[in-house]
Symmetry: D2
Subunit: 439 residues, 4 copies
Amino acid sequence: MSQYFENVPFIKYEGKTSSNPFAFKHYDANKMLMGKTMAEHLRMSACYWHNFCWQGSDVFGANTFDRAWHKPTNEMEAAKMKADAAFEFFSKLGIPYYSFHDVDVCPEGHSIKEYIANFSAMIDVLEAKQEETGTQLLWGTANAFSNPRYMSGAASNPDPEIFTYAATQVFHAMNATKRLKGANYVLWGGREGYETLLNTDLKRERAQLGRFMQMVVDHKYKIGFTGSLLIEPKPAEPTKHQYDYDTATVYGFLKEFGLENEIRVNIEANHATLAGHSFHHEIATACSLGILGSVDANQGDAQLGWDTDQFPSSVEEYTLVTYEILKAGGFKTGGYMFDTKLRRQSIDLEDMFHAHIGAMDTLALSLERAVKMLEDDQLAALVEQRYARWGHTLGQDILAGKHSLQDLADYALRNNINPSPISGRQEMLENIVNGYIYR
Amino acid sequence: MSQYFENVPFIKYEGKTSSNPFAFKHYDANKMLMGKTMAEHLRMSACYWHNFCWQGSDVFGANTFDRAWHKPTNEMEAAKMKADAAFEFFSKLGIPYYSFHDVDVCPEGHSIKEYIANFSAMIDVLEAKQEETGTQLLWGTANAFSNPRYMSGAASNPDPEIFTYAATQVFHAMNATKRLKGANYVLWGGREGYETLLNTDLKRERAQLGRFMQMVVDHKYKIGFTGSLLIEPKPAEPTKHQYDYDTATVYGFLKEFGLENEIRVNIEANHATLAGHSFHHEIATACSLGILGSVDANQGDAQLGWDTDQFPSSVEEYTLVTYEILKAGGFKTGGYMFDTKLRRQSIDLEDMFHAHIGAMDTLALSLERAVKMLEDDQLAALVEQRYARWGHTLGQDILAGKHSLQDLADYALRNNINPSPISGRQEMLENIVNGYIYR
Amino acid sequence: MSQYFENVPFIKYEGKTSSNPFAFKHYDANKMLMGKTMAEHLRMSACYWHNFCWQGSDVFGANTFDRAWHKPTNEMEAAKMKADAAFEFFSKLGIPYYSFHDVDVCPEGHSIKEYIANFSAMIDVLEAKQEETGTQLLWGTANAFSNPRYMSGAASNPDPEIFTYAATQVFHAMNATKRLKGANYVLWGGREGYETLLNTDLKRERAQLGRFMQMVVDHKYKIGFTGSLLIEPKPAEPTKHQYDYDTATVYGFLKEFGLENEIRVNIEANHATLAGHSFHHEIATACSLGILGSVDANQGDAQLGWDTDQFPSSVEEYTLVTYEILKAGGFKTGGYMFDTKLRRQSIDLEDMFHAHIGAMDTLALSLERAVKMLEDDQLAALVEQRYARWGHTLGQDILAGKHSLQDLADYALRNNINPSPISGRQEMLENIVNGYIYR
Amino acid sequence: MSQYFENVPFIKYEGKTSSNPFAFKHYDANKMLMGKTMAEHLRMSACYWHNFCWQGSDVFGANTFDRAWHKPTNEMEAAKMKADAAFEFFSKLGIPYYSFHDVDVCPEGHSIKEYIANFSAMIDVLEAKQEETGTQLLWGTANAFSNPRYMSGAASNPDPEIFTYAATQVFHAMNATKRLKGANYVLWGGREGYETLLNTDLKRERAQLGRFMQMVVDHKYKIGFTGSLLIEPKPAEPTKHQYDYDTATVYGFLKEFGLENEIRVNIEANHATLAGHSFHHEIATACSLGILGSVDANQGDAQLGWDTDQFPSSVEEYTLVTYEILKAGGFKTGGYMFDTKLRRQSIDLEDMFHAHIGAMDTLALSLERAVKMLEDDQLAALVEQRYARWGHTLGQDILAGKHSLQDLADYALRNNINPSPISGRQEMLENIVNGYIYR
């Protein structure tokens, strides 16, 4: 099998004293923590698009990568080589899951008929590859944003035939995801937004989106897909404004269309920061609303205003995020999906391994730190204690709806209350967290 | 009456050829447009706090203003002088409305009892002043963020007694607003957010807020207040993260607690941009969700990351915003409230007039431009036409829920659809808008 | 000649009452203002790259434009068609200047030899086109950032052969610019920056850049090029950090290498805002340092963190900028170059005209407003007056270096000084400016 | 002595297994690394202003702290109590240095005479305290930004008497710093900038600043002060634009006035990020320009647009920064100064200790990691190797100025060069760094 990455060995866990760049220092797949293996906790997934479709271009520069699988002029032949390379990579890396868009894995063809045929042929290939290697599908999705027909949106397009085209892709991509036993189906509305309000009817476009999502939910039940449906928030890019701006906005949208029990969010770290939030905030918000589905585990650049999709390297950030997820019960169908791309100057095949090894070690180490934080229960206890006064009569009665504003105004005057604030202890709590991270 | 501003004349409309800095160039209160006067369309309001309470300090510097009404050491005496100055200013300026926080107009005292007594005494004063001058109240509100007791939130505080204290203030401020015939009651949750997730339970704090808002709604009906209840979104500042982040977030919150028909938003231009949106976006979003209430008409600084609360000077921006509001039917109870402060170096009393005259002229001119845009109907017609295909069978059937994903996939294949995109014409539309602004 | 744009007429000035979308409302090329025509003041230029090379792709989407001149498979044939289309467009639009990169106008070939031959052949074509149409060259430049060889920089590359490759391109592009009577030669260091400090030696890279710029200056004198040399600042994108961050940074670089009298800046509006400055700031800074060369006249999006290169539509912004430039004596060799691209959804050829007409009208109107502001001299007089105290003895002696810190400390104590601040009058000044813009 | 902090013990090093919140886990003052103690490497300093002057207010809220030393109504008495508290705190914390502004330590009085008398009296007190406790002065500075007289700048003020007032303060603050054996004198131009370009003459204000700085340099030599002079860059806040925007801007300013060998920079982490740079960038830039002086060691909030001055907790960030400083030879006169303030909700005296202990441990751990990185020399060797080709003939000749553009164009053609790019290996380098941080 080893054909594209023959210079790279199968990646193994060697422990943190290893100086072998092609070994894990922290990710020990079968290590048990809180009753599950590391692999089961993290459910890590590599992506098809950045690794096997993108060739190193950026807005100001041409392709820098020179990959064998892009050379064949026959598109289906290239797609098969790409699949060979992809599964060889997943296997050597030892990552349990992968994720794809429909047109990552097959040529989109020149008609719907060709699209269906190509996609179907490649799903056969992927199914065989999954069987052969044991790599599983974390999620599938349809790309309804790259083709020029989607320049003004897919479900929110002013043309219902373009809506229909998108529906067709999602229909086939959902079916393929089910067939490949995908654990989730994701919807990222890369063009569901606007470039200018001058030509846009927000209410109408939101209604179209609501209708589309209802059809997706209906189809899920119809085909018996048991995975989760996930919307991936992003505030902008490529559009000026994207309707699924952030988790809170998606929640409002789901509530508006009565879908809040059917669809969850797939939060991406770099999308969170582009939306003006910390990654931790988006995760905590989704957990508190009960809609966390999965995570696109990457890292943005704090100084750049676009999606850099870097590989995660911050244990400081991922420890907090992992702690939050564990506290909420851990991943169910979701996982940590690396929606990450090499820096354009990292042109060698080896760089794909360096990047993923670093990312997987970052998450493994973060998991270990977070598990310890959770097991000790020190932080959660301090938070609980901060709100303890709400457990007493006044607080309980307020929350139970027993008091009106007037009741409280009377209570306050009668008792001449003058409550004193209590220290929030932020710095002490930060020290406690650092105590876990730098043990 | 003229005592504090004796060097400034009553401000009159003199038309755009006037070079008198103490005259309106565009704001002609009684000019009729689309069946209403300019004054009725714009419903402009000056604020009490920045004009009469703030003394020119900033984070790095002491007070620069030297106002007569801050000199008395007796607090109630100072409050009365402040009211004299305020209504003299409103009258000379010729602005029809004003807005206040409870503790802008009275000393907060050293106990709830004192607070109630002081506030009540000052409401008597304000009522007389309104009567005397004809100035009306656009909205009232309670300041539940400045006192140290609110450092960790008011309704979202970990202490139910602090929640109670805030409820007491809101109770009295709502009652006062009703008595003064205020058109709206506003809630800005300046401390309803978090400094660090490490000590915060998001779900619990949101539940507290939901409960609080329900009590406010109940009280409105109980006292027969017929104005609107408004939440004012802001993403951060003073907190790290404020729960009423932006319009979409507030909408989700209202839906979560079933309050979407009871509470609307008061959108502030500078808060919109701090949240990563254009001001136009926030207005258009609120209109499309049916929750636009009122507007805090100011202007931020595109390069600064905090609330600068500058006076609006951009006709380019306000024309679009005013067009959006007119298109949605215009203000009902709301209006354009100047939540604006002088630059700290603008230390003279005359500067208060320069600033408000410029702001009022900016809005008046924007109104004229927007009215013309709406009357011509050119833009709206182009937008309508862009979505025309949704009026045909396919579009209508989709929106009516007659099609499943599978139906659409079948339709697409059967018809071998290949829809072509149509130009979005953004630049042409921008030219049309500029054609109105620079007529 | 009319072949590509046959549906569009030659664009004429029709005045502001015209409703013809294919006419200028404000740009009246030969109208005299302050002793020069509008055309001479503004020196407007269209660009080759966005209009004739870019095909509507973005990071998440494929080409949306379908231009005839991209169809030929023979690259030189396509280059000639492109030149035909470009000059037809410039002529119909009536814009006096254009600007290009070497590889905009010719295929780069597969060797230096081919590059030279292709470029030379196309310079012949351009020369004939200029002669034929009267369109002139505002500036030429070399693209040393798109080819993968430049992924780690051109002059700042770790490989001196890549430095040499860039030098070769600049050599030929400067020679071509001279031959075509270009008024300026521009250097934009799109890859002169870093992706990560972990692999970067800042001092060494800056030395390489300094050496490169010295060679460019030497070559200018050697070939007798009488135009200006210009560096175009940009903070980032495509790199994480670009060395020519902003005007102040470029000034420091020029001073470090003794080049401050040889090279000026080409300021781009959208680069200014990405660097955290207002466009006005960058222009005023360059004027105050005596290094303003030319302007890339575009407009960014205040909410987006990347270079959107939109067509300028804000008269409010361009009036201030044009006022600043006029105050500093107006453009010498520089001009307003439209480094602007259509929105990707504006796919029709007509959109190219709408966009440029709007931009040219915006600048023409801004010029008219700025001229009036300058002629009245009201603003400049108020600024002068603000500093008047520096004209007295104390101020003059300080600036003349006659006082030490101790002298001043003695003076202050002896005179017991307690100077009072004076109002900065910002709001009044803003009203004055609006009085000119909305006359 | 223990009077204000009697509930807190002297802070000692207990090692990383300690769970005592009032102990250092990593900061072991006398531990030897690379021939110096930790204390000598880090030269950590606490600040007077945030700890002992600020009372917990923010723009939207009143003081939350309730400190004994603010209670006396006699200002000099309060100043002395503050000094008692400050030196008790420094001693208990075991931090070797402190830093102050003139008016932090004394009341500014109502005249220059009073200012001089108060300041002088308090310098006597500080001198005795230093003697008594062994705490040393890292730097002194004058506050020429808080008093209303400075609202429009100090050295850049339109009034030369205000320039003179600032000169007077700096004169006395420099003298005091010398007397107290301060290692540096710092100048932060908090108001040296503009609020609006409409009333500002940039060239004139820069000239005033240049003159001021020359006087400061002259005074240094005159009084024989042997410490360093440092300018602290900041992009904005409180002003709209501050002239000392960032390190590169300060460098250009110093070059313009010939001061680049006399003044260095004091870089603040949070100012770096507000300027759009990473903290690491600013440090590396200053090192590469040879002007790094000292560091204000704090941490901003990636989502907030103002100076939050948080205590540093990121070992990931400080390891890189410390590595950069060590590589450049380590601190000479400078050090890590905590320009940090408690969160406003951290109201207890204990919180001052939690915060500083966490910060000092963060820096100590970062130092250990950075020392190991430097000792291994792996990173520096990889960087060196990346540029190795510049050591060969072509590179050496270019840098030596032996080649013109034409020479290089000839060389390229003659040799038909086609240099290939080499991987930048960013991800591998990030893994190496993480290998040191998480050993």
